[in-house]
Subunit: 182 residues, 2 copies
Amino acid sequence: MNPIGPVNALYPMPTTLVGATVNRTVAHVGILNHGTPQYLSIGLAKAHYSNAGLHENRTFSICLPSEDLMVETDYCGTMTGKKTDKAALFDVFHGELKTAPMIRQCPVNMELKLHDVLDFQTHEVFIGELVQTYADDGVMTDGTIDIAKMRPLLFDMASVRYWRLGPALGKCWSAGKSLKRS
Amino acid sequence: MNPIGPVNALYPMPTTLVGATVNRTVAHVGILNHGTPQYLSIGLAKAHYSNAGLHENRTFSICLPSEDLMVETDYCGTMTGKKTDKAALFDVFHGELKTAPMIRQCPVNMELKLHDVLDFQTHEVFIGELVQTYADDGVMTDGTIDIAKMRPLLFDMASVRYWRLGPALGKCWSAGKSLKRS
């Protein structure tokens, strides 16, 4: 597990485990910009146990499980941190921010410091500035996270199912060239 | 193309075409909460042409192309609206908000009204409240959007490639039951 700099790895819409005081499963995440600093958001219902920890420590993690962790990830999504020590399912480690728990079994972990909190009726949206990304050697190709090796666990609300990533279809900023007038 | 109510269809992280005055390709989108009203975000670099239109009309659309539209979608991502009439590539229609252009070739279109704008250094993040979703009959199963029929065009920044969705892996809030103590 080596630091590779603040690389945003949030593609495509993955199922995520968010670490604050406890780890929990979150699918409502977003990429707010494309740049440096990189901002990501997580939407957490106000009733949840980990919001307090996030306000207190002002750091959090977004951990990306692979398909292999579907059972553990789903389990975290159904249990509350008040009653269950979810961290016991995983080997937890900390990075440079010291207080954002990350998960060794996840091939990619992102560490963020809290930038802002948006208050919605039922949810708080925590905006984090990406500080560091941790990735397993096994999911890297030529210094870059290889999404085919990472095998992210995708989530779809309509089917209430987890999905696998399929094959690559084409190159961005290239596939459309055939439409350009010469 | 029938209205089915404000259904959030933004799973997994899809490539999207955003409609304001013009249509453009955007991959930096997010789900801010899970509830009613449903809020979604799009991050647009300040230099872009469509930001002005969005501030003026205070409505926008998030249109979800299928794999079949990879070439057209990629083309929109490489051309500026200042010089190219991208809307000419598509049949544009409007919904109940009147000013958010949507794309008939996209199997799912979401129509939003502007709720707030967050100002970041290089980007503006437009937060929209989902007002209506338009879906093709061909992607519906039992009144719900069927992601397998929709075949969303996924995007990954690390590989700079478009990807296909793979098969379903398991049921949410069910796959993890084996870990619960009886």
